[in-house]
């Protein structure tokens, strides 16, 4: 049953991705690709679609893992403060106009910001040889507030053009994507995804509590550490690729649970697929709807995703209460 649903989801995702390549502000006829169309397809659309899918996959999967690790259905990967760290560094890069590594500068700064924050939050949440979920959460929230405050301070004091780009980035801006991002994004997001999938049984056991995980043959401390690393890799890489796209990490896992159930072996891959598809569609809408002006993908995900989620919340018992 789980395999069938996952296979259907994979097919659906492929269809969406291919479709997203050919429609947009300039529709391309897939049966008749002209010279300029080929150029648009290969150097603009394809990298952009791939980046949106990678980002969405990272956010959806890390949300599913984090909600299990923290045993909290309200957890969002951004709650760990990683995104605030990424945003702070990225905005510093954008506003000060740093370009020491070309197009890669802002993503690199964001990735460094997210990873550093992750290590710091991890250190704060670590006590007596293991992570304490509540400590992790509070450390992330505390650090997030601090970084947001510094971010706002910098933005208040900065020039208009820098401010506009920084604002776009914060809401998820994929317009700066480049082929150069793809290998790096793929490596980190796939590494995190495979790591969490390899620990999916342990994650199910952790949902039952530490004592039962122990009885079922897992070390709760070690499993939480591995899963936290996988969340850190996926979230940091996602945020650095195109900014803070909201909604996916929090709500895609709930929709996934409704479709495939709570077993992490199905939920993690489905949340990855769902996140990838949603962000791809959101970005497609964002760049087409009032072209040539582009709307940040994060705004679109929230506008189409939140009502659907609220509908599910009313219609179905997705929170388990």
């Amino acid at each position: 049953m789980m395999r069938i649903r996952l296979s259907l989801a994979v097919i659906f995702a492929m269809v969406v991705l291919v479709t997203a390549l050919f429609i947009g502000p300039e529709p391309i006829n897939p049966l008749h690709i002209k010279g300029i169309d080929k150029e648009i397809l290969l150097s603009i659309r394809l990298p952009r679609v791939l980046v949106s899918v990678l980002m969405g996959m990272g956010l959806g999967a890390s949300g599913a893992v984090l909600q299990g690790v923290l045993r909290n259905p309200l957890a969002d990967p951004y709650i760990l403060g990683l995104s605030s760290g990424a945003a702070l560094m990225a905005v510093v890069g954008i506003i000060s106009g740093l370009t020491f590594w070309g197009a890669f500068t802002v993503p690199l700064l964001a990735f460094i910001g997210a990873l550093t924050t992750g290590v710091f939050v991890g250190a704060m949440g670590w006590k007596r040889g293991g992570f304490w979920p509540d400590r992790l959460l509070l450390a992330g929230v505390g650090l997030g507030f601090l970084f947001s405050a510094i971010l706002m301070l910098i933005m208040t004091l900065s020039s208009d053009e820098g401010l506009r780009r920084a604002t776009l980035w914060i809401f998820g801006d994929l317009s700066m994507t480049d082929w150069a991002f793809i290998p790096y994004g793929t490596i980190f997001i796939l590494a995190g995804l495979l790591l969490s999938l390899s620990r999916a049984k342990a994650l199910n056991a952790l949902i039952l509590g530490d004592e039962l995980s122990h009885s079922l043959g897992f070390s709760p401390r070690r499993e939480r550490l591995i899963l936290f690393i996988s969340i850190g890799l996926m979230t940091s890489a996602s945020v650095s690729l195109g900014g803070m796209v909201g909604f996916i990490g929090l709500l895609i896992p709930h929709i996934g649970r409704f479709i495939i159930g709570p077993d992490s072996r199905g939920l993690i891959p489905l949340s990855a697929l769902g996140g990838g598809v949603l962000l791809c569609i959101a970005d497609l809408i964002g760049r087409s709807i009032i072209a040539p002006v582009e709307l940040p993908a994060g705004i679109i995900t929230a506008i189409i995703g939140a009502p659907y989620f609220l509908y599910l919340l009313r219609r179905r018992d997705i929170l388990g209460t």
Binding site: N204, A205, I207, S215, P262
Partner: protein, 256 residues
């Protein structure tokens, strides 16, 4: 105190404290052999749960040794230990998202090739056959507890450490669970240690271990161990032990 062939779990001079310098358990020694079904009886806070957690390796002794099949329990890989010993905590999280079938199936996690029992059999054994695909949160407290017990049974370990598994169960299911576990022990020669606080339930056991403040007051048959004096010491109550054709039962009288 040497390790004999049928000793599954052995405590050797085990000491443990929750707060540094304030010993809760000191020099505790006992062993559990295959086929034994032991009731660990004591009042709230007497140390029953702590002993079971030490025995399952969740807590580490500050000194002394807890041995599983003659080897220190922490020398096992987690997965290997899980095939030999399973532990069911007293407090079970009832608000989990899984169905009965999904929860029970987790009992197979330590295995690459499943043991003899399958998921459906385990669910049937605890009488939840009609609820296989029901989410746990839609079951009653007692049904949920039975689902967890089915998971523990499916895990197929030779030693079950069960912390108050009878709590929240109707008397019918208390009796049925005891019967089920006895039957299982007889068929598969496993050992079971079950924490209890109900003295009348303890009378159902062949062997009990009476605990007070982390010490063993006595080990043996209920007839020998449960005397007026030992119960006064363990529970701070006066009792009268009566017998009729069905066996012994307790009459309680609270002392101030």
């Amino acid at each position: 105190m040497g390790h004999s062939d049928n000793t599954i779990l052995e405590f050797r001079e085990v000491a443990f404290s929750y707060t540094r310098g304030n010993g809760f358990i000191e020099a505790l020694s006992f062993s559990i052999k295959t086929g034994e079904f032991i009731g660990l009886l004591g009042a709230n806070g007497s140390g029953k749960s702590t002993i079971l957690k030490l025995g399952s390796g969740i807590l580490k002794a500050s000194s002394g040794d807890v041995r599983l099949w003659g080897r220190p329990i922490h020398s096992y890989r987690h997965k290997d230990r899980a095939k030999l010993l399973s532990y069911l905590p007293q407090i079970l999280d009832m608000n989990i998202p899984f169905t009965v079938e999904e929860l029970v199936g987790m009992g197979l996690y330590p295995y690459d090739t499943p043991p003899e029992l399958n998921i459906d059999q385990a669910i049937e054994m605890v009488g939840l056959g009609e609820h296989r695909t029901t989410p746990l949160k839609n079951l009653s407290g007692g049904e949920r507890r039975r689902a967890y017990i089915a998971m523990t049974l499916l895990q197929g370990a030779g030693l079950l450490l069960l912390d108050e598994p009878l709590a929240n169960l109707d008397i019918k299911y208390q009796i049925e669970l005891l019967r089920l576990l006895r039957d299982l022990r007889a068929r598969r020669d496993i050992a079971i240690v079950m924490a209890l606080h109900d003295i009348n339930m303890a009378l159902q056991f062949e062997k009990i271990m009476l605990i007070r403040q982390g010490r063993i007051l006595g080990t043996g048959t209920p007839e020998v161990i449960l005397t007026r004096d030992s119960i006064r010491e363990a529970f701070d109550i006066e009792v009268e032990i009566k017998r009729d054709s069905e066996g012994p039962y307790m009459m309680y009288q609270i002392i101030s």
